[in-house]
Symmetry: C2
Subunit: 410 residues, 2 copies
């Protein structure tokens, strides 16, 4: 029990994941255990806090609180809200800090990705500028795995695990018949190819897979792509192609923003066509028309039914560590995950200043891919393999996910 | 050990499922245990058998055989091959029976859906017509759950389980932000709405779900649909809509075959647009544009990572029972699954003549849905709930599905 007084407020921000609630759970449990103050939940991130959608954990029944530990999506609700530069405009900061003062908030925990770390950094700086004593800690969360200064991000391992297992199932599915069959799977990642690259793990359990992988970090060329596909289908008339949703040409422009990539919908409106459909059509026009397309959409970011145990445990770990660090008086940091150099995977946490995290994107290093740039290399394999390991039982007795009513948090 | 002599041949046909290999495993294990003859595997169904792609199980190592038990897709390979009417054309039958004679095949097991039961029926009839002593048994398999005379079909429970859990995750995902959000999920089922209807189970674990379900059995009307959606979004600005891929108007015509439903692809070609995209566009044009679309495609038929224990055990059960019945001298039957009337779910098998199965489609009874025809009723709930229950550990230590090299069967 520390000597610091005051209450804490936690909130979630940005897109949901399978494990973001485990971080919230970790924060709540650790603060209740280690501090004297009250634990407040801010619904819908900064946006909800500014609307005073704030709830005292003491008023939420224990079963509901326990229930969020293994529940996907953002139980507290989220927002995509960009705080202004307080040197130019202090209105929203004044409002926020009035609420902090009113509720005696001395600890603020914000769980999110790049933009959320930016918000946490600004709140921390404004507090210092105003001499308001509050400890601000950012807790990383993004399936995109694109935060710098952390080995990986909570949420990524589970997304990688789901996408990889579905990709295995799709590979086995297209092997059903003797006829040629190509499957194009489009996965999340507009600027970083971590999720797509993860699926290179398939060959661990299916060494006979015939697979190509395309990521935003490696310039896309139609000619090279069609060469890759042609060579692959000579080797094996079944082929699995996994692509990130964002692919870029040698000028770093998205390939699916050009005039080629618009399609008319059923009512004649122009719509942005996805990369996967574009690759499918390229193959149809140049190779053969036995090519299917699968896009997992948002189902890949909340697939709790295929969660990684390592991921969900680390998510709770960073939440708990955020509280410990704040109670030790640290502020303006994100809890980063680092891995030890042992042969057996293990991880630990480290403090990283928030202001060196935000507004940067961690890309897949090109030398972690193979020399052709169309599949993974050894480094990517070693990096991602430990992150998808282990299962927890997230099902109820009836075969469906355990869920609680999250309206109790909102 | 029975007194009958001769060898057996088994094969798979039609689309793959998560559990079709469990049926194959059951057949192999039971025949090896109970009969004197050799066990032959026919690769790629009738089509492969006609090409003499036939393998002796004795030549396959034990680990590989055990490995298919919990592996998705059709390990033996499959086909979509329609046997001709032997009263008009016997060439392919002569070829087939010459192969049977050559290998001394006295038992033929064919695992598949409607068309496969048709093939098994024809082979059985031709054998009687030619006085060739062979016992032919059909083993049901289809995620569509549309075979008549069986309570349900192996493969359906696992597909329903996966789709329902993903639908839960999508529901929680669209509840992340405060803004209105509608999710349209399109699932398999062109003529029967079993899979879409299953997702009505969500409310078991999420009573606050706001959901609409549309199936082919209930005539679709744009006006009624838009009324349903308008009323639902007044109640709750989050809405989950699950639709079968086939919806029909009051003339029993598919609604997505009309001129409205074609879209131009990125290269200007006309393509058949799916029902889900059509519903999405209807909502955009008439309600609001905060509507997302998810289509699971073939990933829903092979989602072993979310398999139902009941389903996979019953799949092996029907395979084993097929062997027992054949060894008792029965032929020309499918092994149907029936459920007891006990309060606790349990099932047993029954023989049903193949010729009353084929070329029929079992639809969802309309009175199993609610009176509005846009969600499930009590009967559907009670029917499907036991079928998705229970988990098996289908993962390796590394978090990925256990797989063996199925080329050893082919």
């Amino acid at each position: 029990m520390n000597n610091l007084k005051g209450n804490c407020l936690l909130a979630q921000s940005g897109g949901p994941t399978s494990v973001i609630n485990s971080s919230a759970y970790g924060i709540i449990k650790e603060f209740v255990k280690s501090a004297n103050g009250k634990t407040f939940i801010g619904a819908y991130g900064i946006e909800g806090i500014l609307r005073k959608q704030i709830y005292d954990v003491d008023n939420i029944d224990k079963g509901t609180l326990e229930g969020i530990r293994y529940m996907p999506s953002s139980a507290l609700g989220s927002c995509r809200y960009k705080l202004k530069d307080f040197r130019k405009e202090t209105e929203e900061y004044d409002k926020l800090f009035n609420i902090f003062r009113e509720l005696d908030i001395k600890y603020f925990f914000y769980i999110g990705g790049n933009d959320s770390m930016d918000a946490a950094a600004k709140i921390s700086e404004y507090a210092k500028f105003k001499n308001y004593d509050i400890k601000v800690i950012g807790i990383p969360k993004t399936i995109d795995n694109d935060l710098v200064e952390t080995d990986h991000c909570p949420g990524f391992g589970s997304s990688a695990k789901y996408v990889t297992n579905v990709a295995m199932e799709l590979w086995l599915d297209i092997n059903t018949y003797t006829a040629p069959s190509i499957m194009v799977l489009e996965v999340m990642g507009r600027d970083a190819g971590w999720i797509a690259a993860s699926t290179g793990l398939i060959k661990e359990n299916i060494p006979w897979v015939n697979q190509l992988i395309y990521i935003p970090e490696i310039s896309f060329s139609e000619e090279k792509f069609l060469n890759d596909v042609s060579e692959s289908v000579i080797r094996n008339n079944k082929l699995l192609i996994v692509t990130s949703e964002g692919l870029k040409d040698d000028k770093k422009e998205y390939i699916n923003v050009g005039s080629n990539c618009y399609e008319n919908d059923q009512f004649g409106h122009k719509q942005l066509g996805g990369v996967g459909k574009y690759l499918q059509q390229l193959i149809k026009n140049n190779i053969h028309n036995k090519v299917k397309f699968t896009e997992l959409g948002v189902s890949q970011r909340c697939a709790m039914h295929c969660v990684s145990k390592v991921d969900i445990e680390e998510s709770e770990m960073v939440g708990r560590e955020a509280v410990r660090q704040a109670l030790q008086g640290n502020s303006g940091y994100m809890i980063a995950i680092k891995r030890t150099n042992d042969s057996e995977y293990s991880s630990f946490t480290e403090l990283v200043p928030l202001n060196i995290i935000c507004n940067k994107v961690k890309e897949v290093p090109i030398d972690w891919m193979n020399s052709r740039g169309n599949n993974i290399g050894t480094k990517m394999r070693e990096y991602v393999l430990p992150l998808i390991k282990g299962e927890i039982n997230s099902y109820s007795d009836n075969g469906m996910l355990r869920c609680v009513d999250i309206n109790k948090f909102r």
